[in-house]
Amino acid sequence: MNETLQLKVENKLRLASTLVIAGLGLQLLTFLSNHPLAFLAFIFIGSPLVLAGTVLYLWSLMTAHD
C-alpha cells in the first residue's frame, strides 16, 4: 500500500476511534444515573456514535486497497 493511501486509512481510523470513544464515553456516563433520560441518551446518542465509528472503520478496511 502506498504512503498516501496508508495515511488516508489512518485518518479514517483516527476518526473512527474518536467516534467510538465518544459514544462509549457517553454510554459509560449514562450508568451514573437510573433515569429515563440516561436510557434514551444511551440508545439515541451513544449507540449511534459507536455505530458511526464502527461503520467508518469497516469502510476504511474496504477502501484500503483502492
Binding site: 496508508q6 486509512v9 489512518e10 485518518n11 481510523l13 483516527r14 473512527a16 476511534s17 474518536t18 467510538v20 470513544i21 459514544g23 462509549l24 464515553g25 454510554q27 459509560l28 449514562t30 450508568f31 437510573n34 433515569h35 429515563p36 433520560l37 440516561a38 436510557f39 434514551l40 444511551f42 440508545i43 449507540s47 459507536v50 465509528g53 464502527t54 472503520y57 469497516l58
Partner: protein
C-alpha cells in the same frame, strides 16, 4: 461489570487513536478489529440489556416527579388498597413494584407503547405535564398481570366471590370481567385520595 467492559474498550480504542500507524502490521490490524468492531457491539448489547434491567426498578419509574404520588400510594396503611398491600407484604418484589404489575408499559409493550414512552419524555420536559390524578392507563388493566401470580392459587381458585356463579371464573380468566374495574378490587392507586389516607412507615433495619 458492563461499565468496566466499556472502559476497557475505550482504552483499546484510544491506542488506535493515538497510534494509528500500528495498524500497518498484522498484529495492529487485529488489535484494531476488537475495539472498533467486536467489543463495541458486545458492550453496546450488554449495556442496552443492563439499562433495560435497571429500568424495571421502582426507583427508575419514580425518578419522574409525575409518578411521585403513585409511589406514595404504595405506602397507604389500608389492607384494601391493592398496590399498597401487594407492595408492603412483598407479594411483588418491592424493588420492581411498578414493572411487576405493568409489564407492557412503554418500552416493554408493542411499538405503539414504545412511541408513547417517547412522547411521555417529550411531554415531561417540553409539554404540559398532567396532574398525577389525571394520569390514566391507555387501555383497561389486563387480568393477565393478576393471573400471572394468582391463577392456580387456592385463595383465588376457591375464593367465595370468584366461585359465586359458574360463569365468573371463566370470565375473569378470559379477561372479560376485569379484576380491577368491575367493582371487586378497584382500590388501585387512587392518588387523588392520598391526602385523606394514613401511611405506613416500614421499620428501619437495626444497626
Amino acid at each position: 461489570m458492563v461499565p468496566a467492559a466499556i472502559a476497557l474498550t475505550m482504552a483499546l480504542a484510544m491506542v488506535i487513536l493515538l497510534f494509528p500507524s500500528s495498524t500497518r502490521q498484522r498484529g495492529g490490524k487485529i488489535l484494531a478489529f476488537f475495539p472498533l468492531f467486536i467489543l463495541p457491539a458486545v458492550v453496546g448489547s450488554l449495556g442496552g440489556m443492563e439499562h433495560l434491567e435497571r429500568s424495571k426498578q421502582t426507583q427508575f419509574c419514580l425518578s419522574c416527579h409525575v409518578m411521585t404520588e403513585h409511589g406514595r400510594s404504595l405506602g397507604v396503611d389500608d389492607p384494601n388498597f391493592l398496590p399498597a398491600s401487594h407492595f408492603q407484604n412483598h407479594r411483588i418484589p418491592p424493588e420492581r413494584a411498578c414493572y411487576t404489575c405493568h409489564t407492557d408499559y412503554t418500552m416493554y409493550g408493542d411499538i405503539a407503547s414504545k412511541l408513547r414512552g417517547l412522547r411521555h419524555v417529550y411531554v415531561y420536559y417540553i409539554g404540559a405535564v398532567p396532574q398525577p390524578s389525571e394520569v390514566k392507563l391507555y387501555s383497561p388493566y389486563n387480568n393477565r398481570e393478576c393471573l400471572f401470580c394468582h391463577e392456580g392459587a387456592r385463595s383465588f381458585e376457591e375464593g367465595v366471590s370468584h366461585t359465586l356463579e359458574p360463569e365468573i371464573m371463566p370470565a375473569i380468566k378470559s379477561n372479560e370481567m376485569s379484576c380491577l374495574s368491575s367493582g371487586c378490587h378497584d382500590q388501585a392507586h387512587r392518588v387523588a385520595t392520598l391526602k385523606d389516607q394514613k401511611f405506613w412507615a416500614p421499620p428501619q433495619p437495626q444497626q
